[in-house]
Point group: C2
Chain length 358, copies 2
């Protein structure tokens, strides 16, 4: 696969990876794993009908369950990132933080992780050890315990060194109810810091590009930051970590699920100069680039300033800022006000600009 073809072909999301909707596809394309429209169609048209069930239909980052009288968050992610090690992290860090953050977006502090490895015959055991050690260290940093695991091996040429799956469970605190359906016009949209960093960090090593300064992934566990925010008020409306598909996908999912319109002030969206430069070179829009240590929060207006102040006291929220608001107009749609006073529609991406980013 030539990834540079995808990257430089077009700024138009419709041209990425695969333009045709699922109904016109007969085979899996890279975009089905991209967290955009094709991923959503796969869930809607293939998985949801096959599994049935009301829980999957919640369409959040984590399922919210009742079991034995307690409220649990439960989530899973597989990780197929290339390369396995990159500036600021590794597949082991992603495997912990990706799932821990999905739980945190329900307000749950991750308690236990499962961890399944699919190893390719011939990969060095030293590589496996480095991944496992990174995973263990990330788990300790996030305060989550790896409780159970599994390892499978596939023949050389049928994998890619190391794939990792994690699933996680955690308790949802009383009084916390984070769902896109709670979003209402007037809510304030806050982002916890600079966007686009993880995706650009991966690309810089994958394509051997140099952007003057090394860009390190922002990969981090967001449980502590979320606790800080919930200490201000449990009445946040929704949290989302903008991973695959970037901030654009996260905002679109919330707009669609809540039936409200979202307006972003493009100038307020924090994009570091190094990320902006790299995106210009690569033909990417930072709004669509994956993050792994950021969150976007939809907060009732009366709590917004206090939540923002609290976020800025946390090491992962020092650059938090208000980037927009929820409106009654254009329900289900995300619109950006540009620096020049115009507006543009921020679409849900079709596929993924950068395959195998996590």
């Amino acid at each position: 696969m030539s990834e540079t073809t995808d990257l430089t072909a077009s700024l138009d999301p419709a041209a990425w990876t695969c333009p045709a909707p699922l109904s016109e596809q007969s085979r899996v394309v890279m975009g089905h794993g991209g967290g955009g429209m094709l991923s959503a169609e796969l869930v809607r048209d293939v998985f949801a009908p096959a599994y049935g069930g009301a829980v999957l239909a919640q369409a959040g980052d984590a399922a919210q369950l009742a079991l034995g009288g307690v409220r649990l968050a439960f989530s899973t992610d597989s990780f197929v990132v290339r390369p396995l090690f990159f500036p600021g992290g590794s597949i082991g860090d992603l495997a912990v933080n990706g799932t821990v953050n999905d739980l945190a977006m329900s307000g749950a502090r991750a308690a236990y992780l499962s961890c399944g490895f699919i190893l390719e015959e011939g990969v060095g055991l030293e590589t496996v050890s480095r991944v496992a050690e990174a995973l263990g260290a990330a788990a300790r940093a996030a305060g989550v315990e790896v409780a159970t695991g599994d390892t499978k091996v596939v023949e050389a040429g049928h994998g890619d060194g190391v794939y990792v799956n994690t699933a996680g469970i955690g308790l949802i605190p009383a009084g916390v109810d984070l769902r896109p359906q709670r979003v209402v016009p007037g809510d304030v949209v806050i982002v916890s810091g600079a966007i686009g960093v993880h995706g650009v960090a991966i690309m810089s090593v994958r394509e051997g590009l140099e952007f003057g300064v090394e860009i390190e992934s922002d990969c981090a566990a967001l449980g502590g930051l979320v606790d800080t925010m919930l200490a201000v008020t449990p009445d946040l409306h929704v949290l989302r970590d903008p991973t695959r598909g970037g901030l654009a996908a996260a905002l679109n999912e919330i707009a669609a699920a809540s039936g409200t319109g979202v307006v972003i002030r493009e100038r307020e969206v924090p994009v570091p100069p190094a990320v902006a430069n790299a995106c210009a070179v690569l033909g990417l829009d930072p709004m669509y680039v994956a993050n792994e240590g950021k969150l976007v929060a939809f907060v009732p207006r009366e709590h917004a300033d206090a939540v923002l102040d609290a976020m800025r006291t946390h090491p992962l929220g020092t650059e938090a800022r208000i980037i927009g608001e929820v409106v009654e107009d254009h329900p289900g749609m995300v619109v950006a006000r540009t620096g020049l006073g115009g507006t543009r529609v921020v679409d849900l991406p079709v596929g993924e600009q950068l395959p195998r980013i996590c």
Copy 2:
């Protein structure tokens, strides 16, 4: 990879897949995923030190956890079986039943599953749909809900069509405490039915072999059978589903963890004629062939007859029988009394006779 080389080379487990211990290996071999000695070494030498934590050290099929005042079982498995569809089941059935059964071995009825797909670019969407539908049907049959999912796509040539990971959670009933450490001399060893069926079913399609009759996988969810057994008494000592590594691996793990000796009467171990014939042709020992719908139970002697009677009333236990007992002699070792009055040691397999059986 030539699998027939592994299969016909030797009946000696030490010759399978890879004879050298982990400490002498520098690269991953197929046997690291086989559920035998190499798998155990990988956990002991790589994963356990990296993760730390007391829960993983329990070394059961599922972790037993306390969360919010309730006792949970939590387990994960990845599935890389080839082919995806086989007589009696599919990777979708295995993905449900494998995890459901791991939970059942803790006495827990599975409540929720997570499900992560790693798809290979180019695989037919119709194939993905068939797997998802099989998975959904198996979940409904097992009474478990698919609560959360994830899909990643890797480039053509970096996967094998469809890999599936599931993780599951369920409540452990009050009074149930199933652990190998509870096994004591005098305990009776019960197997729920014929062994070796799943592995031979996979081999028959993979190698295009004909054994006169089609052998169908025994793939099934064991939660109902376990409930039937626990209704007799919650005081069972340990349950184990003998998947990778077969009955031999399950018995060895329990002997090692309990520090007791296990004696099996070889004539009592139920091996269907078709499985025995296939194993003779392939040079396999049925004791080492994977099962996917059977369990082995270590039961206090005073409850053994009642538990056996109850098992036989359940569709998945009609052929249940006592195959041996726990002794004070040869702690940590499994010995089979042969039909000719002799004895042989039943070793833990080193790797796996049949790679990618689940």
